[in-house]
Subunit: 277 residues, 2 copies
């Protein structure tokens, strides 16, 4: 097949059945130029070794996933989260990526206070953003679909993510635009414009929306073209807002994970070309 | 136990293991004054018989669930949906309720056009609203949680529901405010105000948000008090917006349905008193 689209980046989670060397090898074979990495497999392989492997293959690390979980109300939980995020920032810098994606965190046990949880995210970013900036890393606040609001991320819309990010300079804190999380939101197109005008689009990620959702709803993201999201329209919006960076495909899908990882990467690159490129 | 709160109404789906006579009997025993009925069990029992049974017990029918599914793009599908909604309006009138709840419908097979689907809802309501008004029935557009946007309801926020309803006189088309669907939305409190100011709150329904969500996500609604939604705060907002009507508890939950229906009704009334009343 022809080489992958030059804008295409594969998020490591999409093909998590591949080891890091297998992933790098498959990217090289396909002409894929970028990878979004995850902390856990990177640490399992060794941070320095991972950085060397990816750099040696000429692959750009388009993002590191993920920091965040900044909603703890207790001082001890907050301190632990800040420590972990500083470590994530250090890891991002070591991998040579300029973007750390943040999944902000859900409600503390027994709490129903979304507003308070969102305020604590701003407060925590006040500590983390300068630390990240000193290391050449931007923090990308990712809104997650509202079905994750209680247990994973109290930031549910692009508007909320920007409300948080705009407390800080654009070179320190931006947002992650992911089709899976915002496709349903009629306010999102205008918020993409707002994000672009402010120079806040740190990364653009794709996954398609398919139903029925599986239990727990985490691992039901659709391969590009399998669902109802108009990928070309979202790509055009993000481009019109001024974003010129790589586009990551990030799928969490038990069915896709059960198959061959190299074939999945090839198919994902092909889908990107067909539906976006 | 003491009698149920006078504002409390039980949605029939919450205790679907009860037959209609069992439900009416249990409501009488508990002093529950209102029921929200569903078309399917009413038709199975017989419309006239159901109307007589409920009226004879002195129960108010607070809503009929449900009409809607108005997003078909093909003329035949649209005509079928309009016919079915006229039948639902007739049934609501026969049952003596002034509110027909509408679940607007998802995307047609193969379509990703949310905007077009929402426009078709407005178009269909243009035919249905006068028909309903002549029969003393208001149509309540219900926003469903965004996790249902593709396959069940393209109306995902209270703002969108009001945008649709406001094409019509308030005495013809309003909205359903259901905590389960809107609790995550930081724009929803202001939209409750907007709905109240326009006289558009047709009904107020409660369910709590619990995780993990089950496969298919439909039947995972939490008993009042089991989740993270601040029921008292939402009740206060809806009351401040001027709503003085009954409050329905509508739970879809496989676990609750597996138990005894009368006990579930008793417990639901108790939870209402504890967390809202």
């Amino acid at each position: 097949m022809s080489a992958a689209d030059p804008r295409f980046s594969i998020n490591q989670m999409t093909v998590k059945q591949l080891s890091l060397p297998e992933l790098v090898d498959a990217c090289t074979a396909l002409g894929v130029r970028g990878v979004g990495l995850w902390r856990e497999p990177v640490r399992a392989y060794g941070l320095k070794a991972a950085a060397g492997l990816v750099r040696g293959a000429g692959l750009a690390v388009t993002t590191l996933c993920r920091g965040g979980f900044l909603t703890a109300a207790e001082p001890a939980g907050r301190a632990t989260a800040l420590d972990d995020n500083r470590a994530a920032i250090d890891e991002a810098a070591a991998l040579g990526t300029g973007v750390l994606v943040l999944v902000s965190g859900g409600l503390p046990e027994g709490s129903g206070d979304l507003v308070g949880a969102r305020l604590r995210i701003v407060d925590a970013l006040g500590e983390l953003a300068p630390y990240a900036a000193e290391r050449g890393v931007r923090l990308a606040v990712e809104p997650l679909h509202p079905m994750f609001a209680s247990d994973r991320c109290v930031v549910s819309t692009l508007a909320q993510a920007l409300d948080i990010a705009e407390h800080f300079p654009a070179e320190q804190v931006g947002v992650c635009v992911d089709t899976y999380h915002i496709w349903w939101d009629d306010a999102a197109p205008a918020q993409v414009e707002r994000a672009g005008a402010g120079g806040r689009i740190c990364t653009f990620q794709l996954a398609d929306w398919i139903t029925p959702l599986p239990a727990g709803v985490l691992n039901g993201r659709g391969q590009i073209g399998d669902g109802c999201i108009d990928m070309r329209a979202w790509d055009a919006r993000v481009a019109a807002a001024g974003y010129r960076g790589p586009v990551e495909v990030e799928l969490f899908n038990d069915g896709l994970w059960a198959g061959d990882g190299r074939e999945l990467l090839t198919e994902t690159a092909r889908r990107f070309t067909a539906h976006v490129g």
